[in-house]
């Protein structure tokens, strides 16, 4: 398919989104309700992952390194 401009490609992508989710057949206000719920859910997922994923990854790495190398560290702490 030849797209004359990027805008045409974007509007084709929007058309595919309407067709695949099935909201092509709905009235405009129903389309807005669905899209706002969907994009707010996606936005919340992105925000949560941005805020919490680095912290969780760091804690997980500490936990696993603690299992393998943690015993020597605690004996050192006791001696000190």
């Amino acid at each position: 398919m030849n797209f004359k401009s990027f805008r045409e490609y974007l509007s084709w992508l929007y058309y595919q989104y309407l067709l695949i989710t099935g909201i092509y057949v709905l009235e405009p206000w129903e389309k807005s309700i669905f899209s706002s719920i969907l994009f707010s859910a996606i936005g919340m997922v992105i925000y949560t992952s941005y805020v919490f994923v680095p912290i969780h990854v760091r804690l997980a790495l500490e936990f696993f390194s603690g299992i393998f190398g943690g015993q020597s560290e605690s004996t050192m702490a006791l001696i000190n």
């Binding site: 595919q16 695949i20 989710t21 909201i23 057949v25 709905l26 129903e30």
Partner: protein
């Protein structure tokens, strides 16, 4: 909704020489391999490609989202936040058993209504190869329509059952019909057995019997009524009807009205049919174990939603072995299959006397209306007295009967021209060309390679409406089908190839389908396309190595 991907599998069926005898058919895994290819004179190729998993999941997701919105709208209608434009019970009947709460009505209100503009489009010309549509718009999302006053002209008609192109308003058939109207009028004003038996009906019946190769035949005014009113006359309590899974509503209604026991075998599956026959004969009637009075196998020639052709040689062999009767409904296949246009019996080269009851309609290939039943003389004489349709329904209108007579004579070649033979050849060329091209483009097409009914899979609910509208924008009229005529995720667009389509019209339609297929991403087929053969160059490159 549980995820039920129809496990039909891609079954390319060639005439595989298989030595398995017919009686050991129970328990075979691949039900569509031709086990008795010696019964078939040419390869029987059918394919029903499996639904891709991602497409099935997305289709269910789409239906789920639309169902949620359907519940939302029903809620708004119930609490009068929104004006209710559907049928509902009266105030006094609110406490009775609800009439409109089942899934079919929910589906109609919330899904069908939204894309309703694809159906019931008013046509204002002959539904030939090209037709004119009345342009209509809706300002309240398909609840009401208004005509703009304009007419969309020369829409290529890929939806009418016009297989041999006899739907025309000029030519020898139309002239003969005009003469018949001038002689007999249009209405008959009586039922067949009272005062409605005209000499034109007798001539028609003799001609139909000669066309089919049977002893005698009877014609009725309506094809649906032929099935639903005659099966009750043939079977009753104590009889067994074995009907195919995908039989038409008229056959199902006739079987239910008859009051016989009905058992259903899997679509075109001879092992399933044989198992049912053996069980029926071995065990007899359900509680008393008495033998069945009659066993009637009901099949169709071409199944119009799948495009598949019945495996008639095997059905006839089974029927002879287990002494059952065969009822063959050739609604779509009469006139459209076979070298002489005599239907599926001609296509397989079988003897018409093997089929006990040959039923068909005049609507599809003859450009008229009505149905017929052909068979032995005793059978037809019995039906003349005992069929509901003969006793109560108005007999066929004379110009319609004359149209059938002229078109049938044309197909048989008795009108002195080669028009019939030309049309038959044109139809089979068009069918092969159209199917091959659509397959090459990458669409999933169901059915047999020789069937003029071409179902193209769409799957997703939004694409049903989008396909119909986009094709109409490109001036092509198509029929799209969804639930409840098809299983819920297998919605399709159904093309009916006609002998009246020229190569240019088919090319235009194919080009538009290609465009719409790319726009809507409908090319789901995952089979490798055969590379175009290079002829002598390919051989040379092999030799060099």
């Amino acid at each position: 909704m549980s995820l039920h991907v129809p496990s039909m599998g891609w079954r390319p069926v060639q005439g595989v020489p298989c030595l398995r005898p017919m009686s050991a058919g129970i328990g075979s895994s691949n039900q569509n391999v031709t086990h008795n290819s010696s019964l078939y004179k040419k390869p029987f190729e059918e394919s029903f490609e499996e639904t891709p998993l991602l497409v099935a999941v997305l289709t269910y997701m789409g239906y789920g989202i639309l169902t949620i919105f359907g519940y939302l709208r029903d809620f708004l209608r119930h609490w009068s936040i929104e004006k209710c434009q559907v049928a509902r019970e009266k105030e006094e009947q609110k406490d009775f058993v609800p009439l409109y709460q089942d899934f079919e009505n929910f589906y109609t209100r919330n899904l069908y209504m939204r894309i309703r503009d694809n159906w019931n489009r008013p046509i204002c010309s002959v539904p030939g190869a090209k037709m004119d549509l009345v342009e209509s718009v809706s300002h309240d999302f398909n609840w009401t329509f208004e005509h703009t006053g304009r007419v969309v002209k020369d829409v290529i008609n890929m939806g009418s059952y016009n297989y041999l192109g006899f739907a025309e308003n000029n030519g020898a058939c139309a002239d003969a019909a005009i003469e018949a109207t001038e002689k007999y009028g249009v209405g008959v004003a009586s039922s067949r057995c009272e005062m409605g038996n005209l000499d034109i009906h007798e001539e028609l019946e003799r001609l139909v019997a000669r066309f089919l190769g049977v002893e005698s035949s009877m014609a009725f005014g309506m094809g649906f009524a032929t099935n639903s009113m005659n099966i009750p006359a043939l079977t009753g309590k104590g009889c067994l009807i074995l009907s195919d899974e995908l039989n038409h509503a008229s056959l199902v209604l006739g079987a239910r009205l008859a009051g016989s026991t009905i058992r259903v075998f899997k679509h075109n599956n001879m092992q399933s049919l044989e198992k049912l026959l053996r069980d029926a004969i071995a065990h007899g009637q359900p509680r008393t174990h008495r033998p069945w009075k009659k066993i009637l196998i009901v099949v169709e020639g071409i199944y119009s939603m799948e495009g598949s052709i019945v495996r008639l040689p095997e059905v006839v062999a089974l029927k002879k072995r287990y002494k059952a009767y065969l009822y063959l409904d050739e609604a779509h296949s009469i006139g459209a299959l076979g070298p002489n246009g005599r239907g599926v019996v001609d296509y397989f080269g079988l003897d018409p006397k093997d089929v006990d009851i040959m039923m068909g309609t005049f609507t599809k290939s003859f450009g008229a209306a009505g149905g017929y039943i052909g068979g032995k003389k005793e059978l037809i004489d019995y039906l003349r007295c005992h069929s509901h349709s003969a006793l109560y329904a108005i007999s066929m209108s004379p110009p319609v009967a004359q149209q059938i007579i002229s078109s049938m004579k044309s197909i048989m070649g008795e009108d002195g021209t080669t028009l019939g033979a030309d049309r038959l050849r044109q139809l089979s060329e068009n069918t092969t060309y159209f199917r091959r091209k659509l397959r090459e483009m990458g669409f999933i097409i169901y059915g047999n390679d020789d069937s003029p009914v071409v179902p193209m899979m769409l799957y997703m609910p939004a694409k049903i409406g989008a396909f119909g509208r986009e094709m109409l924008k490109r001036n092509i009229g198509t029929v799209v089908v969804g639930f409840p005529a098809t299983p819920i995720i297998e919605s399709r667009a159904r093309f009916c190839v006609s002998a009246a389509h020229t190569r240019e019209m088919l090319d235009t339609a194919l080009e538009a389908t290609d465009e719409v297929g790319d726009l809507l991403q409908l090319k789901y087929s995952r089979r490798e396309q055969p590379l175009p053969s290079l002829g002598w160059m390919a051989e040379e490159s092999l030799l060099q190595d």
